[in-house]
């Protein structure tokens, strides 16, 4: 054994005594040390000097902790902590990224990298916490202000309805069942109107050429969500209504125009759902259908006054607002569909 080999063996012994037990790590350190020795020999140092300087150089590297006692689980836990501190707090996303990181590390280790090195490379390739956060922020774009305003208005209206109905309940004019039934149906109808309002805004922006992809997606998602919410509320309202009917009138289905109107709205929502399932790529048509929902709900809600002059709804006094409302919507729908067919022909 040469003098240099003896020194290296002794140096390895010191590292083992210092806690580095992995032979793979020791081999890599030795390989690195020999490269450092060669560089210094090439610069004209004696073998003893070259070894001494290389060991000093390696000492800094080793004490930096990069190779000493590397623990992958601890390193990944620390990486997760840094990602969370950098704004990536969703644990499900971090689980998925960790799974990816471990796959990458496993592949690199299988290709010959040390675990510590593989971890460093995989983390670098994943991107810094701020880069990952920015990429995820791109998909979690804030909701557009027209949608925010619409949702806020609906919530205010829902609270107002709840307040009015709760007042009636407080004075003993409504039973608990009827109170919830009215609240569910009214907020459900309002939700259909809101989806229709999103549809109108969408169509208007489309015609004016100002519909950005972000606004398009935001309006479509909001309309879809409120169509679902309205369906849930109307089903609940109808269900409670049938129970109330049974308790008061002895039958589940009274056959009044109000009940028929609610069923018509529900059927229209079912049509929207079928369109959603069958007509995946044409958002424009689905938004026009939401506009048509305004007509269905306005007739189901207020149209009963025209059909049977229900004494309970005479507060409207005159029916012209409803007629104008429906007429405007029909014109918009006619224009909307004609433009659609023109585009399809072109």
């Amino acid at each position: 054994m040469s003098e240099l080999e003896e020194k290296i063996a002794a140096w390895r012994g010191q590292l083992i005594a210092g806690g580095i037990e992995s032979s793979a790590i020791l081999d890599e350190l030795e390989s690195h040390l020999l490269e450092e020795v060669d560089i210094r020999l090439a610069c004209g140092n004696s073998e003893a000097q070259a070894f001494e300087h290389a060991v000093q150089w390696m000492g800094a590297l080793i004490h930096s902790g990069r190779f000493a006692m590397f623990n992958l689980d601890q390193a990944i836990a620390e990486w997760r902590r840094q990602m969370a501190a950098g704004g990536n707090k969703n644990s499900t996303i971090l689980d998925e990224l960790e799974s990816h990181l471990r796959d990458d590390i496993r592949t690199r280790v299988a290709a010959g990298d040390l675990e510590a090195r593989a971890f460093e490379l995989a983390v670098a390739k994943m991107g810094s916490p701020s880069v990952v956060r920015n990429e995820f922020n791109k998909i979690n774009r804030p909701t557009c202000w027209p949608v925010k305003i619409g949702i806020s208005l609906w919530m205010v209206m829902a609270v107002l309805v709840a307040g009015v109905v709760a007042r009636q309940f407080h004075f003993g004019k409504l039973t608990p069942l009827l109170t919830v039934h009215i609240m569910a149906l009214t907020t459900g109808y309002l939700a259909v109107f809101l989806a229709g309002a999103f549809g109108l805004y969408y169509v208007g922006m489309q015609w004016s050429g100002k519909l950005s992809p972000q606004l398009q997606l935001s309006l479509y998602r909001a309309a879809r969500a409120f169509t679902g919410i309205s369906a849930g509320l109307i089903v609940a309202g109808l269900f409670l209504g049938t129970i109330w009917n049974k308790q008061i009138r002895g039958v589940y289905w009274g056959g009044s125009l109000r009940e028929i109107g609610a069923v018509c709205v529900l059927m229209w929502l079912a049509v929207l759902w079928v369109m959603e399932r069958r007509n995946q790529q044409n958002i424009y048509l689905r938004m026009l259908a939401c506009v048509a929902g305004n007509v269905v709900v306005s007739l189901a809600w207020f149209g009963v006054v025209i059909l049977m002059a229900d004494p309970g709804l005479k507060y409207l006094g005159s029916y012209w607002p409803l007629e104008i409302f429906v007429a405007i919507h029909l014109v918009i729908l006619a224009l909307g569909f004609s433009r659609r067919f023109e585009t399809a022909k072109a």
Partner: protein, 112 residues
């Protein structure tokens, strides 16, 4: 190397196409794209997952966690019906772009 703008633009079409062959997970998707493109298409690992999540939000793909033999979990993605429709549309669009470019370059070669 393909510029990152083109890589980003083609990401959805590539993911949909790969998932149309069967369910897969993020790391495998990146490896397959890299292998099929001879290393010309390289995604930043952190970029892939937001795209996958956006596609999941759009209702194109669905995901499920699978427990592996070593006890660790891995999230697998698969195509939904909406995703198949989206793939058909994207395929049509990319083929149109490809067709126009091929046509134009064909004309250029004739002039040359």
């Amino acid at each position: 190397m393909i510029p990152k703008e083109l890589v980003a633009a083609s990401a959805e079409a590539l993911i949909l196409s790969l998932l149309s062959k069967g369910e897969s997970y993020g790391y495998a998707i990146i490896q397959e794209v890299r292998a099929r493109s001879d290393n010309h298409l390289q995604w930043t690992d952190g970029m892939l997952y937001p795209v996958l999540h956006r596609m999941e939000n759009n209702g194109w793909i669905k995901s499920r966690w699978v427990k592996m033999e070593n006890g660790r979990k891995r999230k697998y993605y698969s195509l939904k019906k909406d995703g198949k429709d989206a793939l058909d549309e994207q395929r049509t669009q990319w083929l149109k772009v490809h067709g126009v470019l091929t046509q134009l370059w064909g004309e250029k070669e004739q002039y040359v």
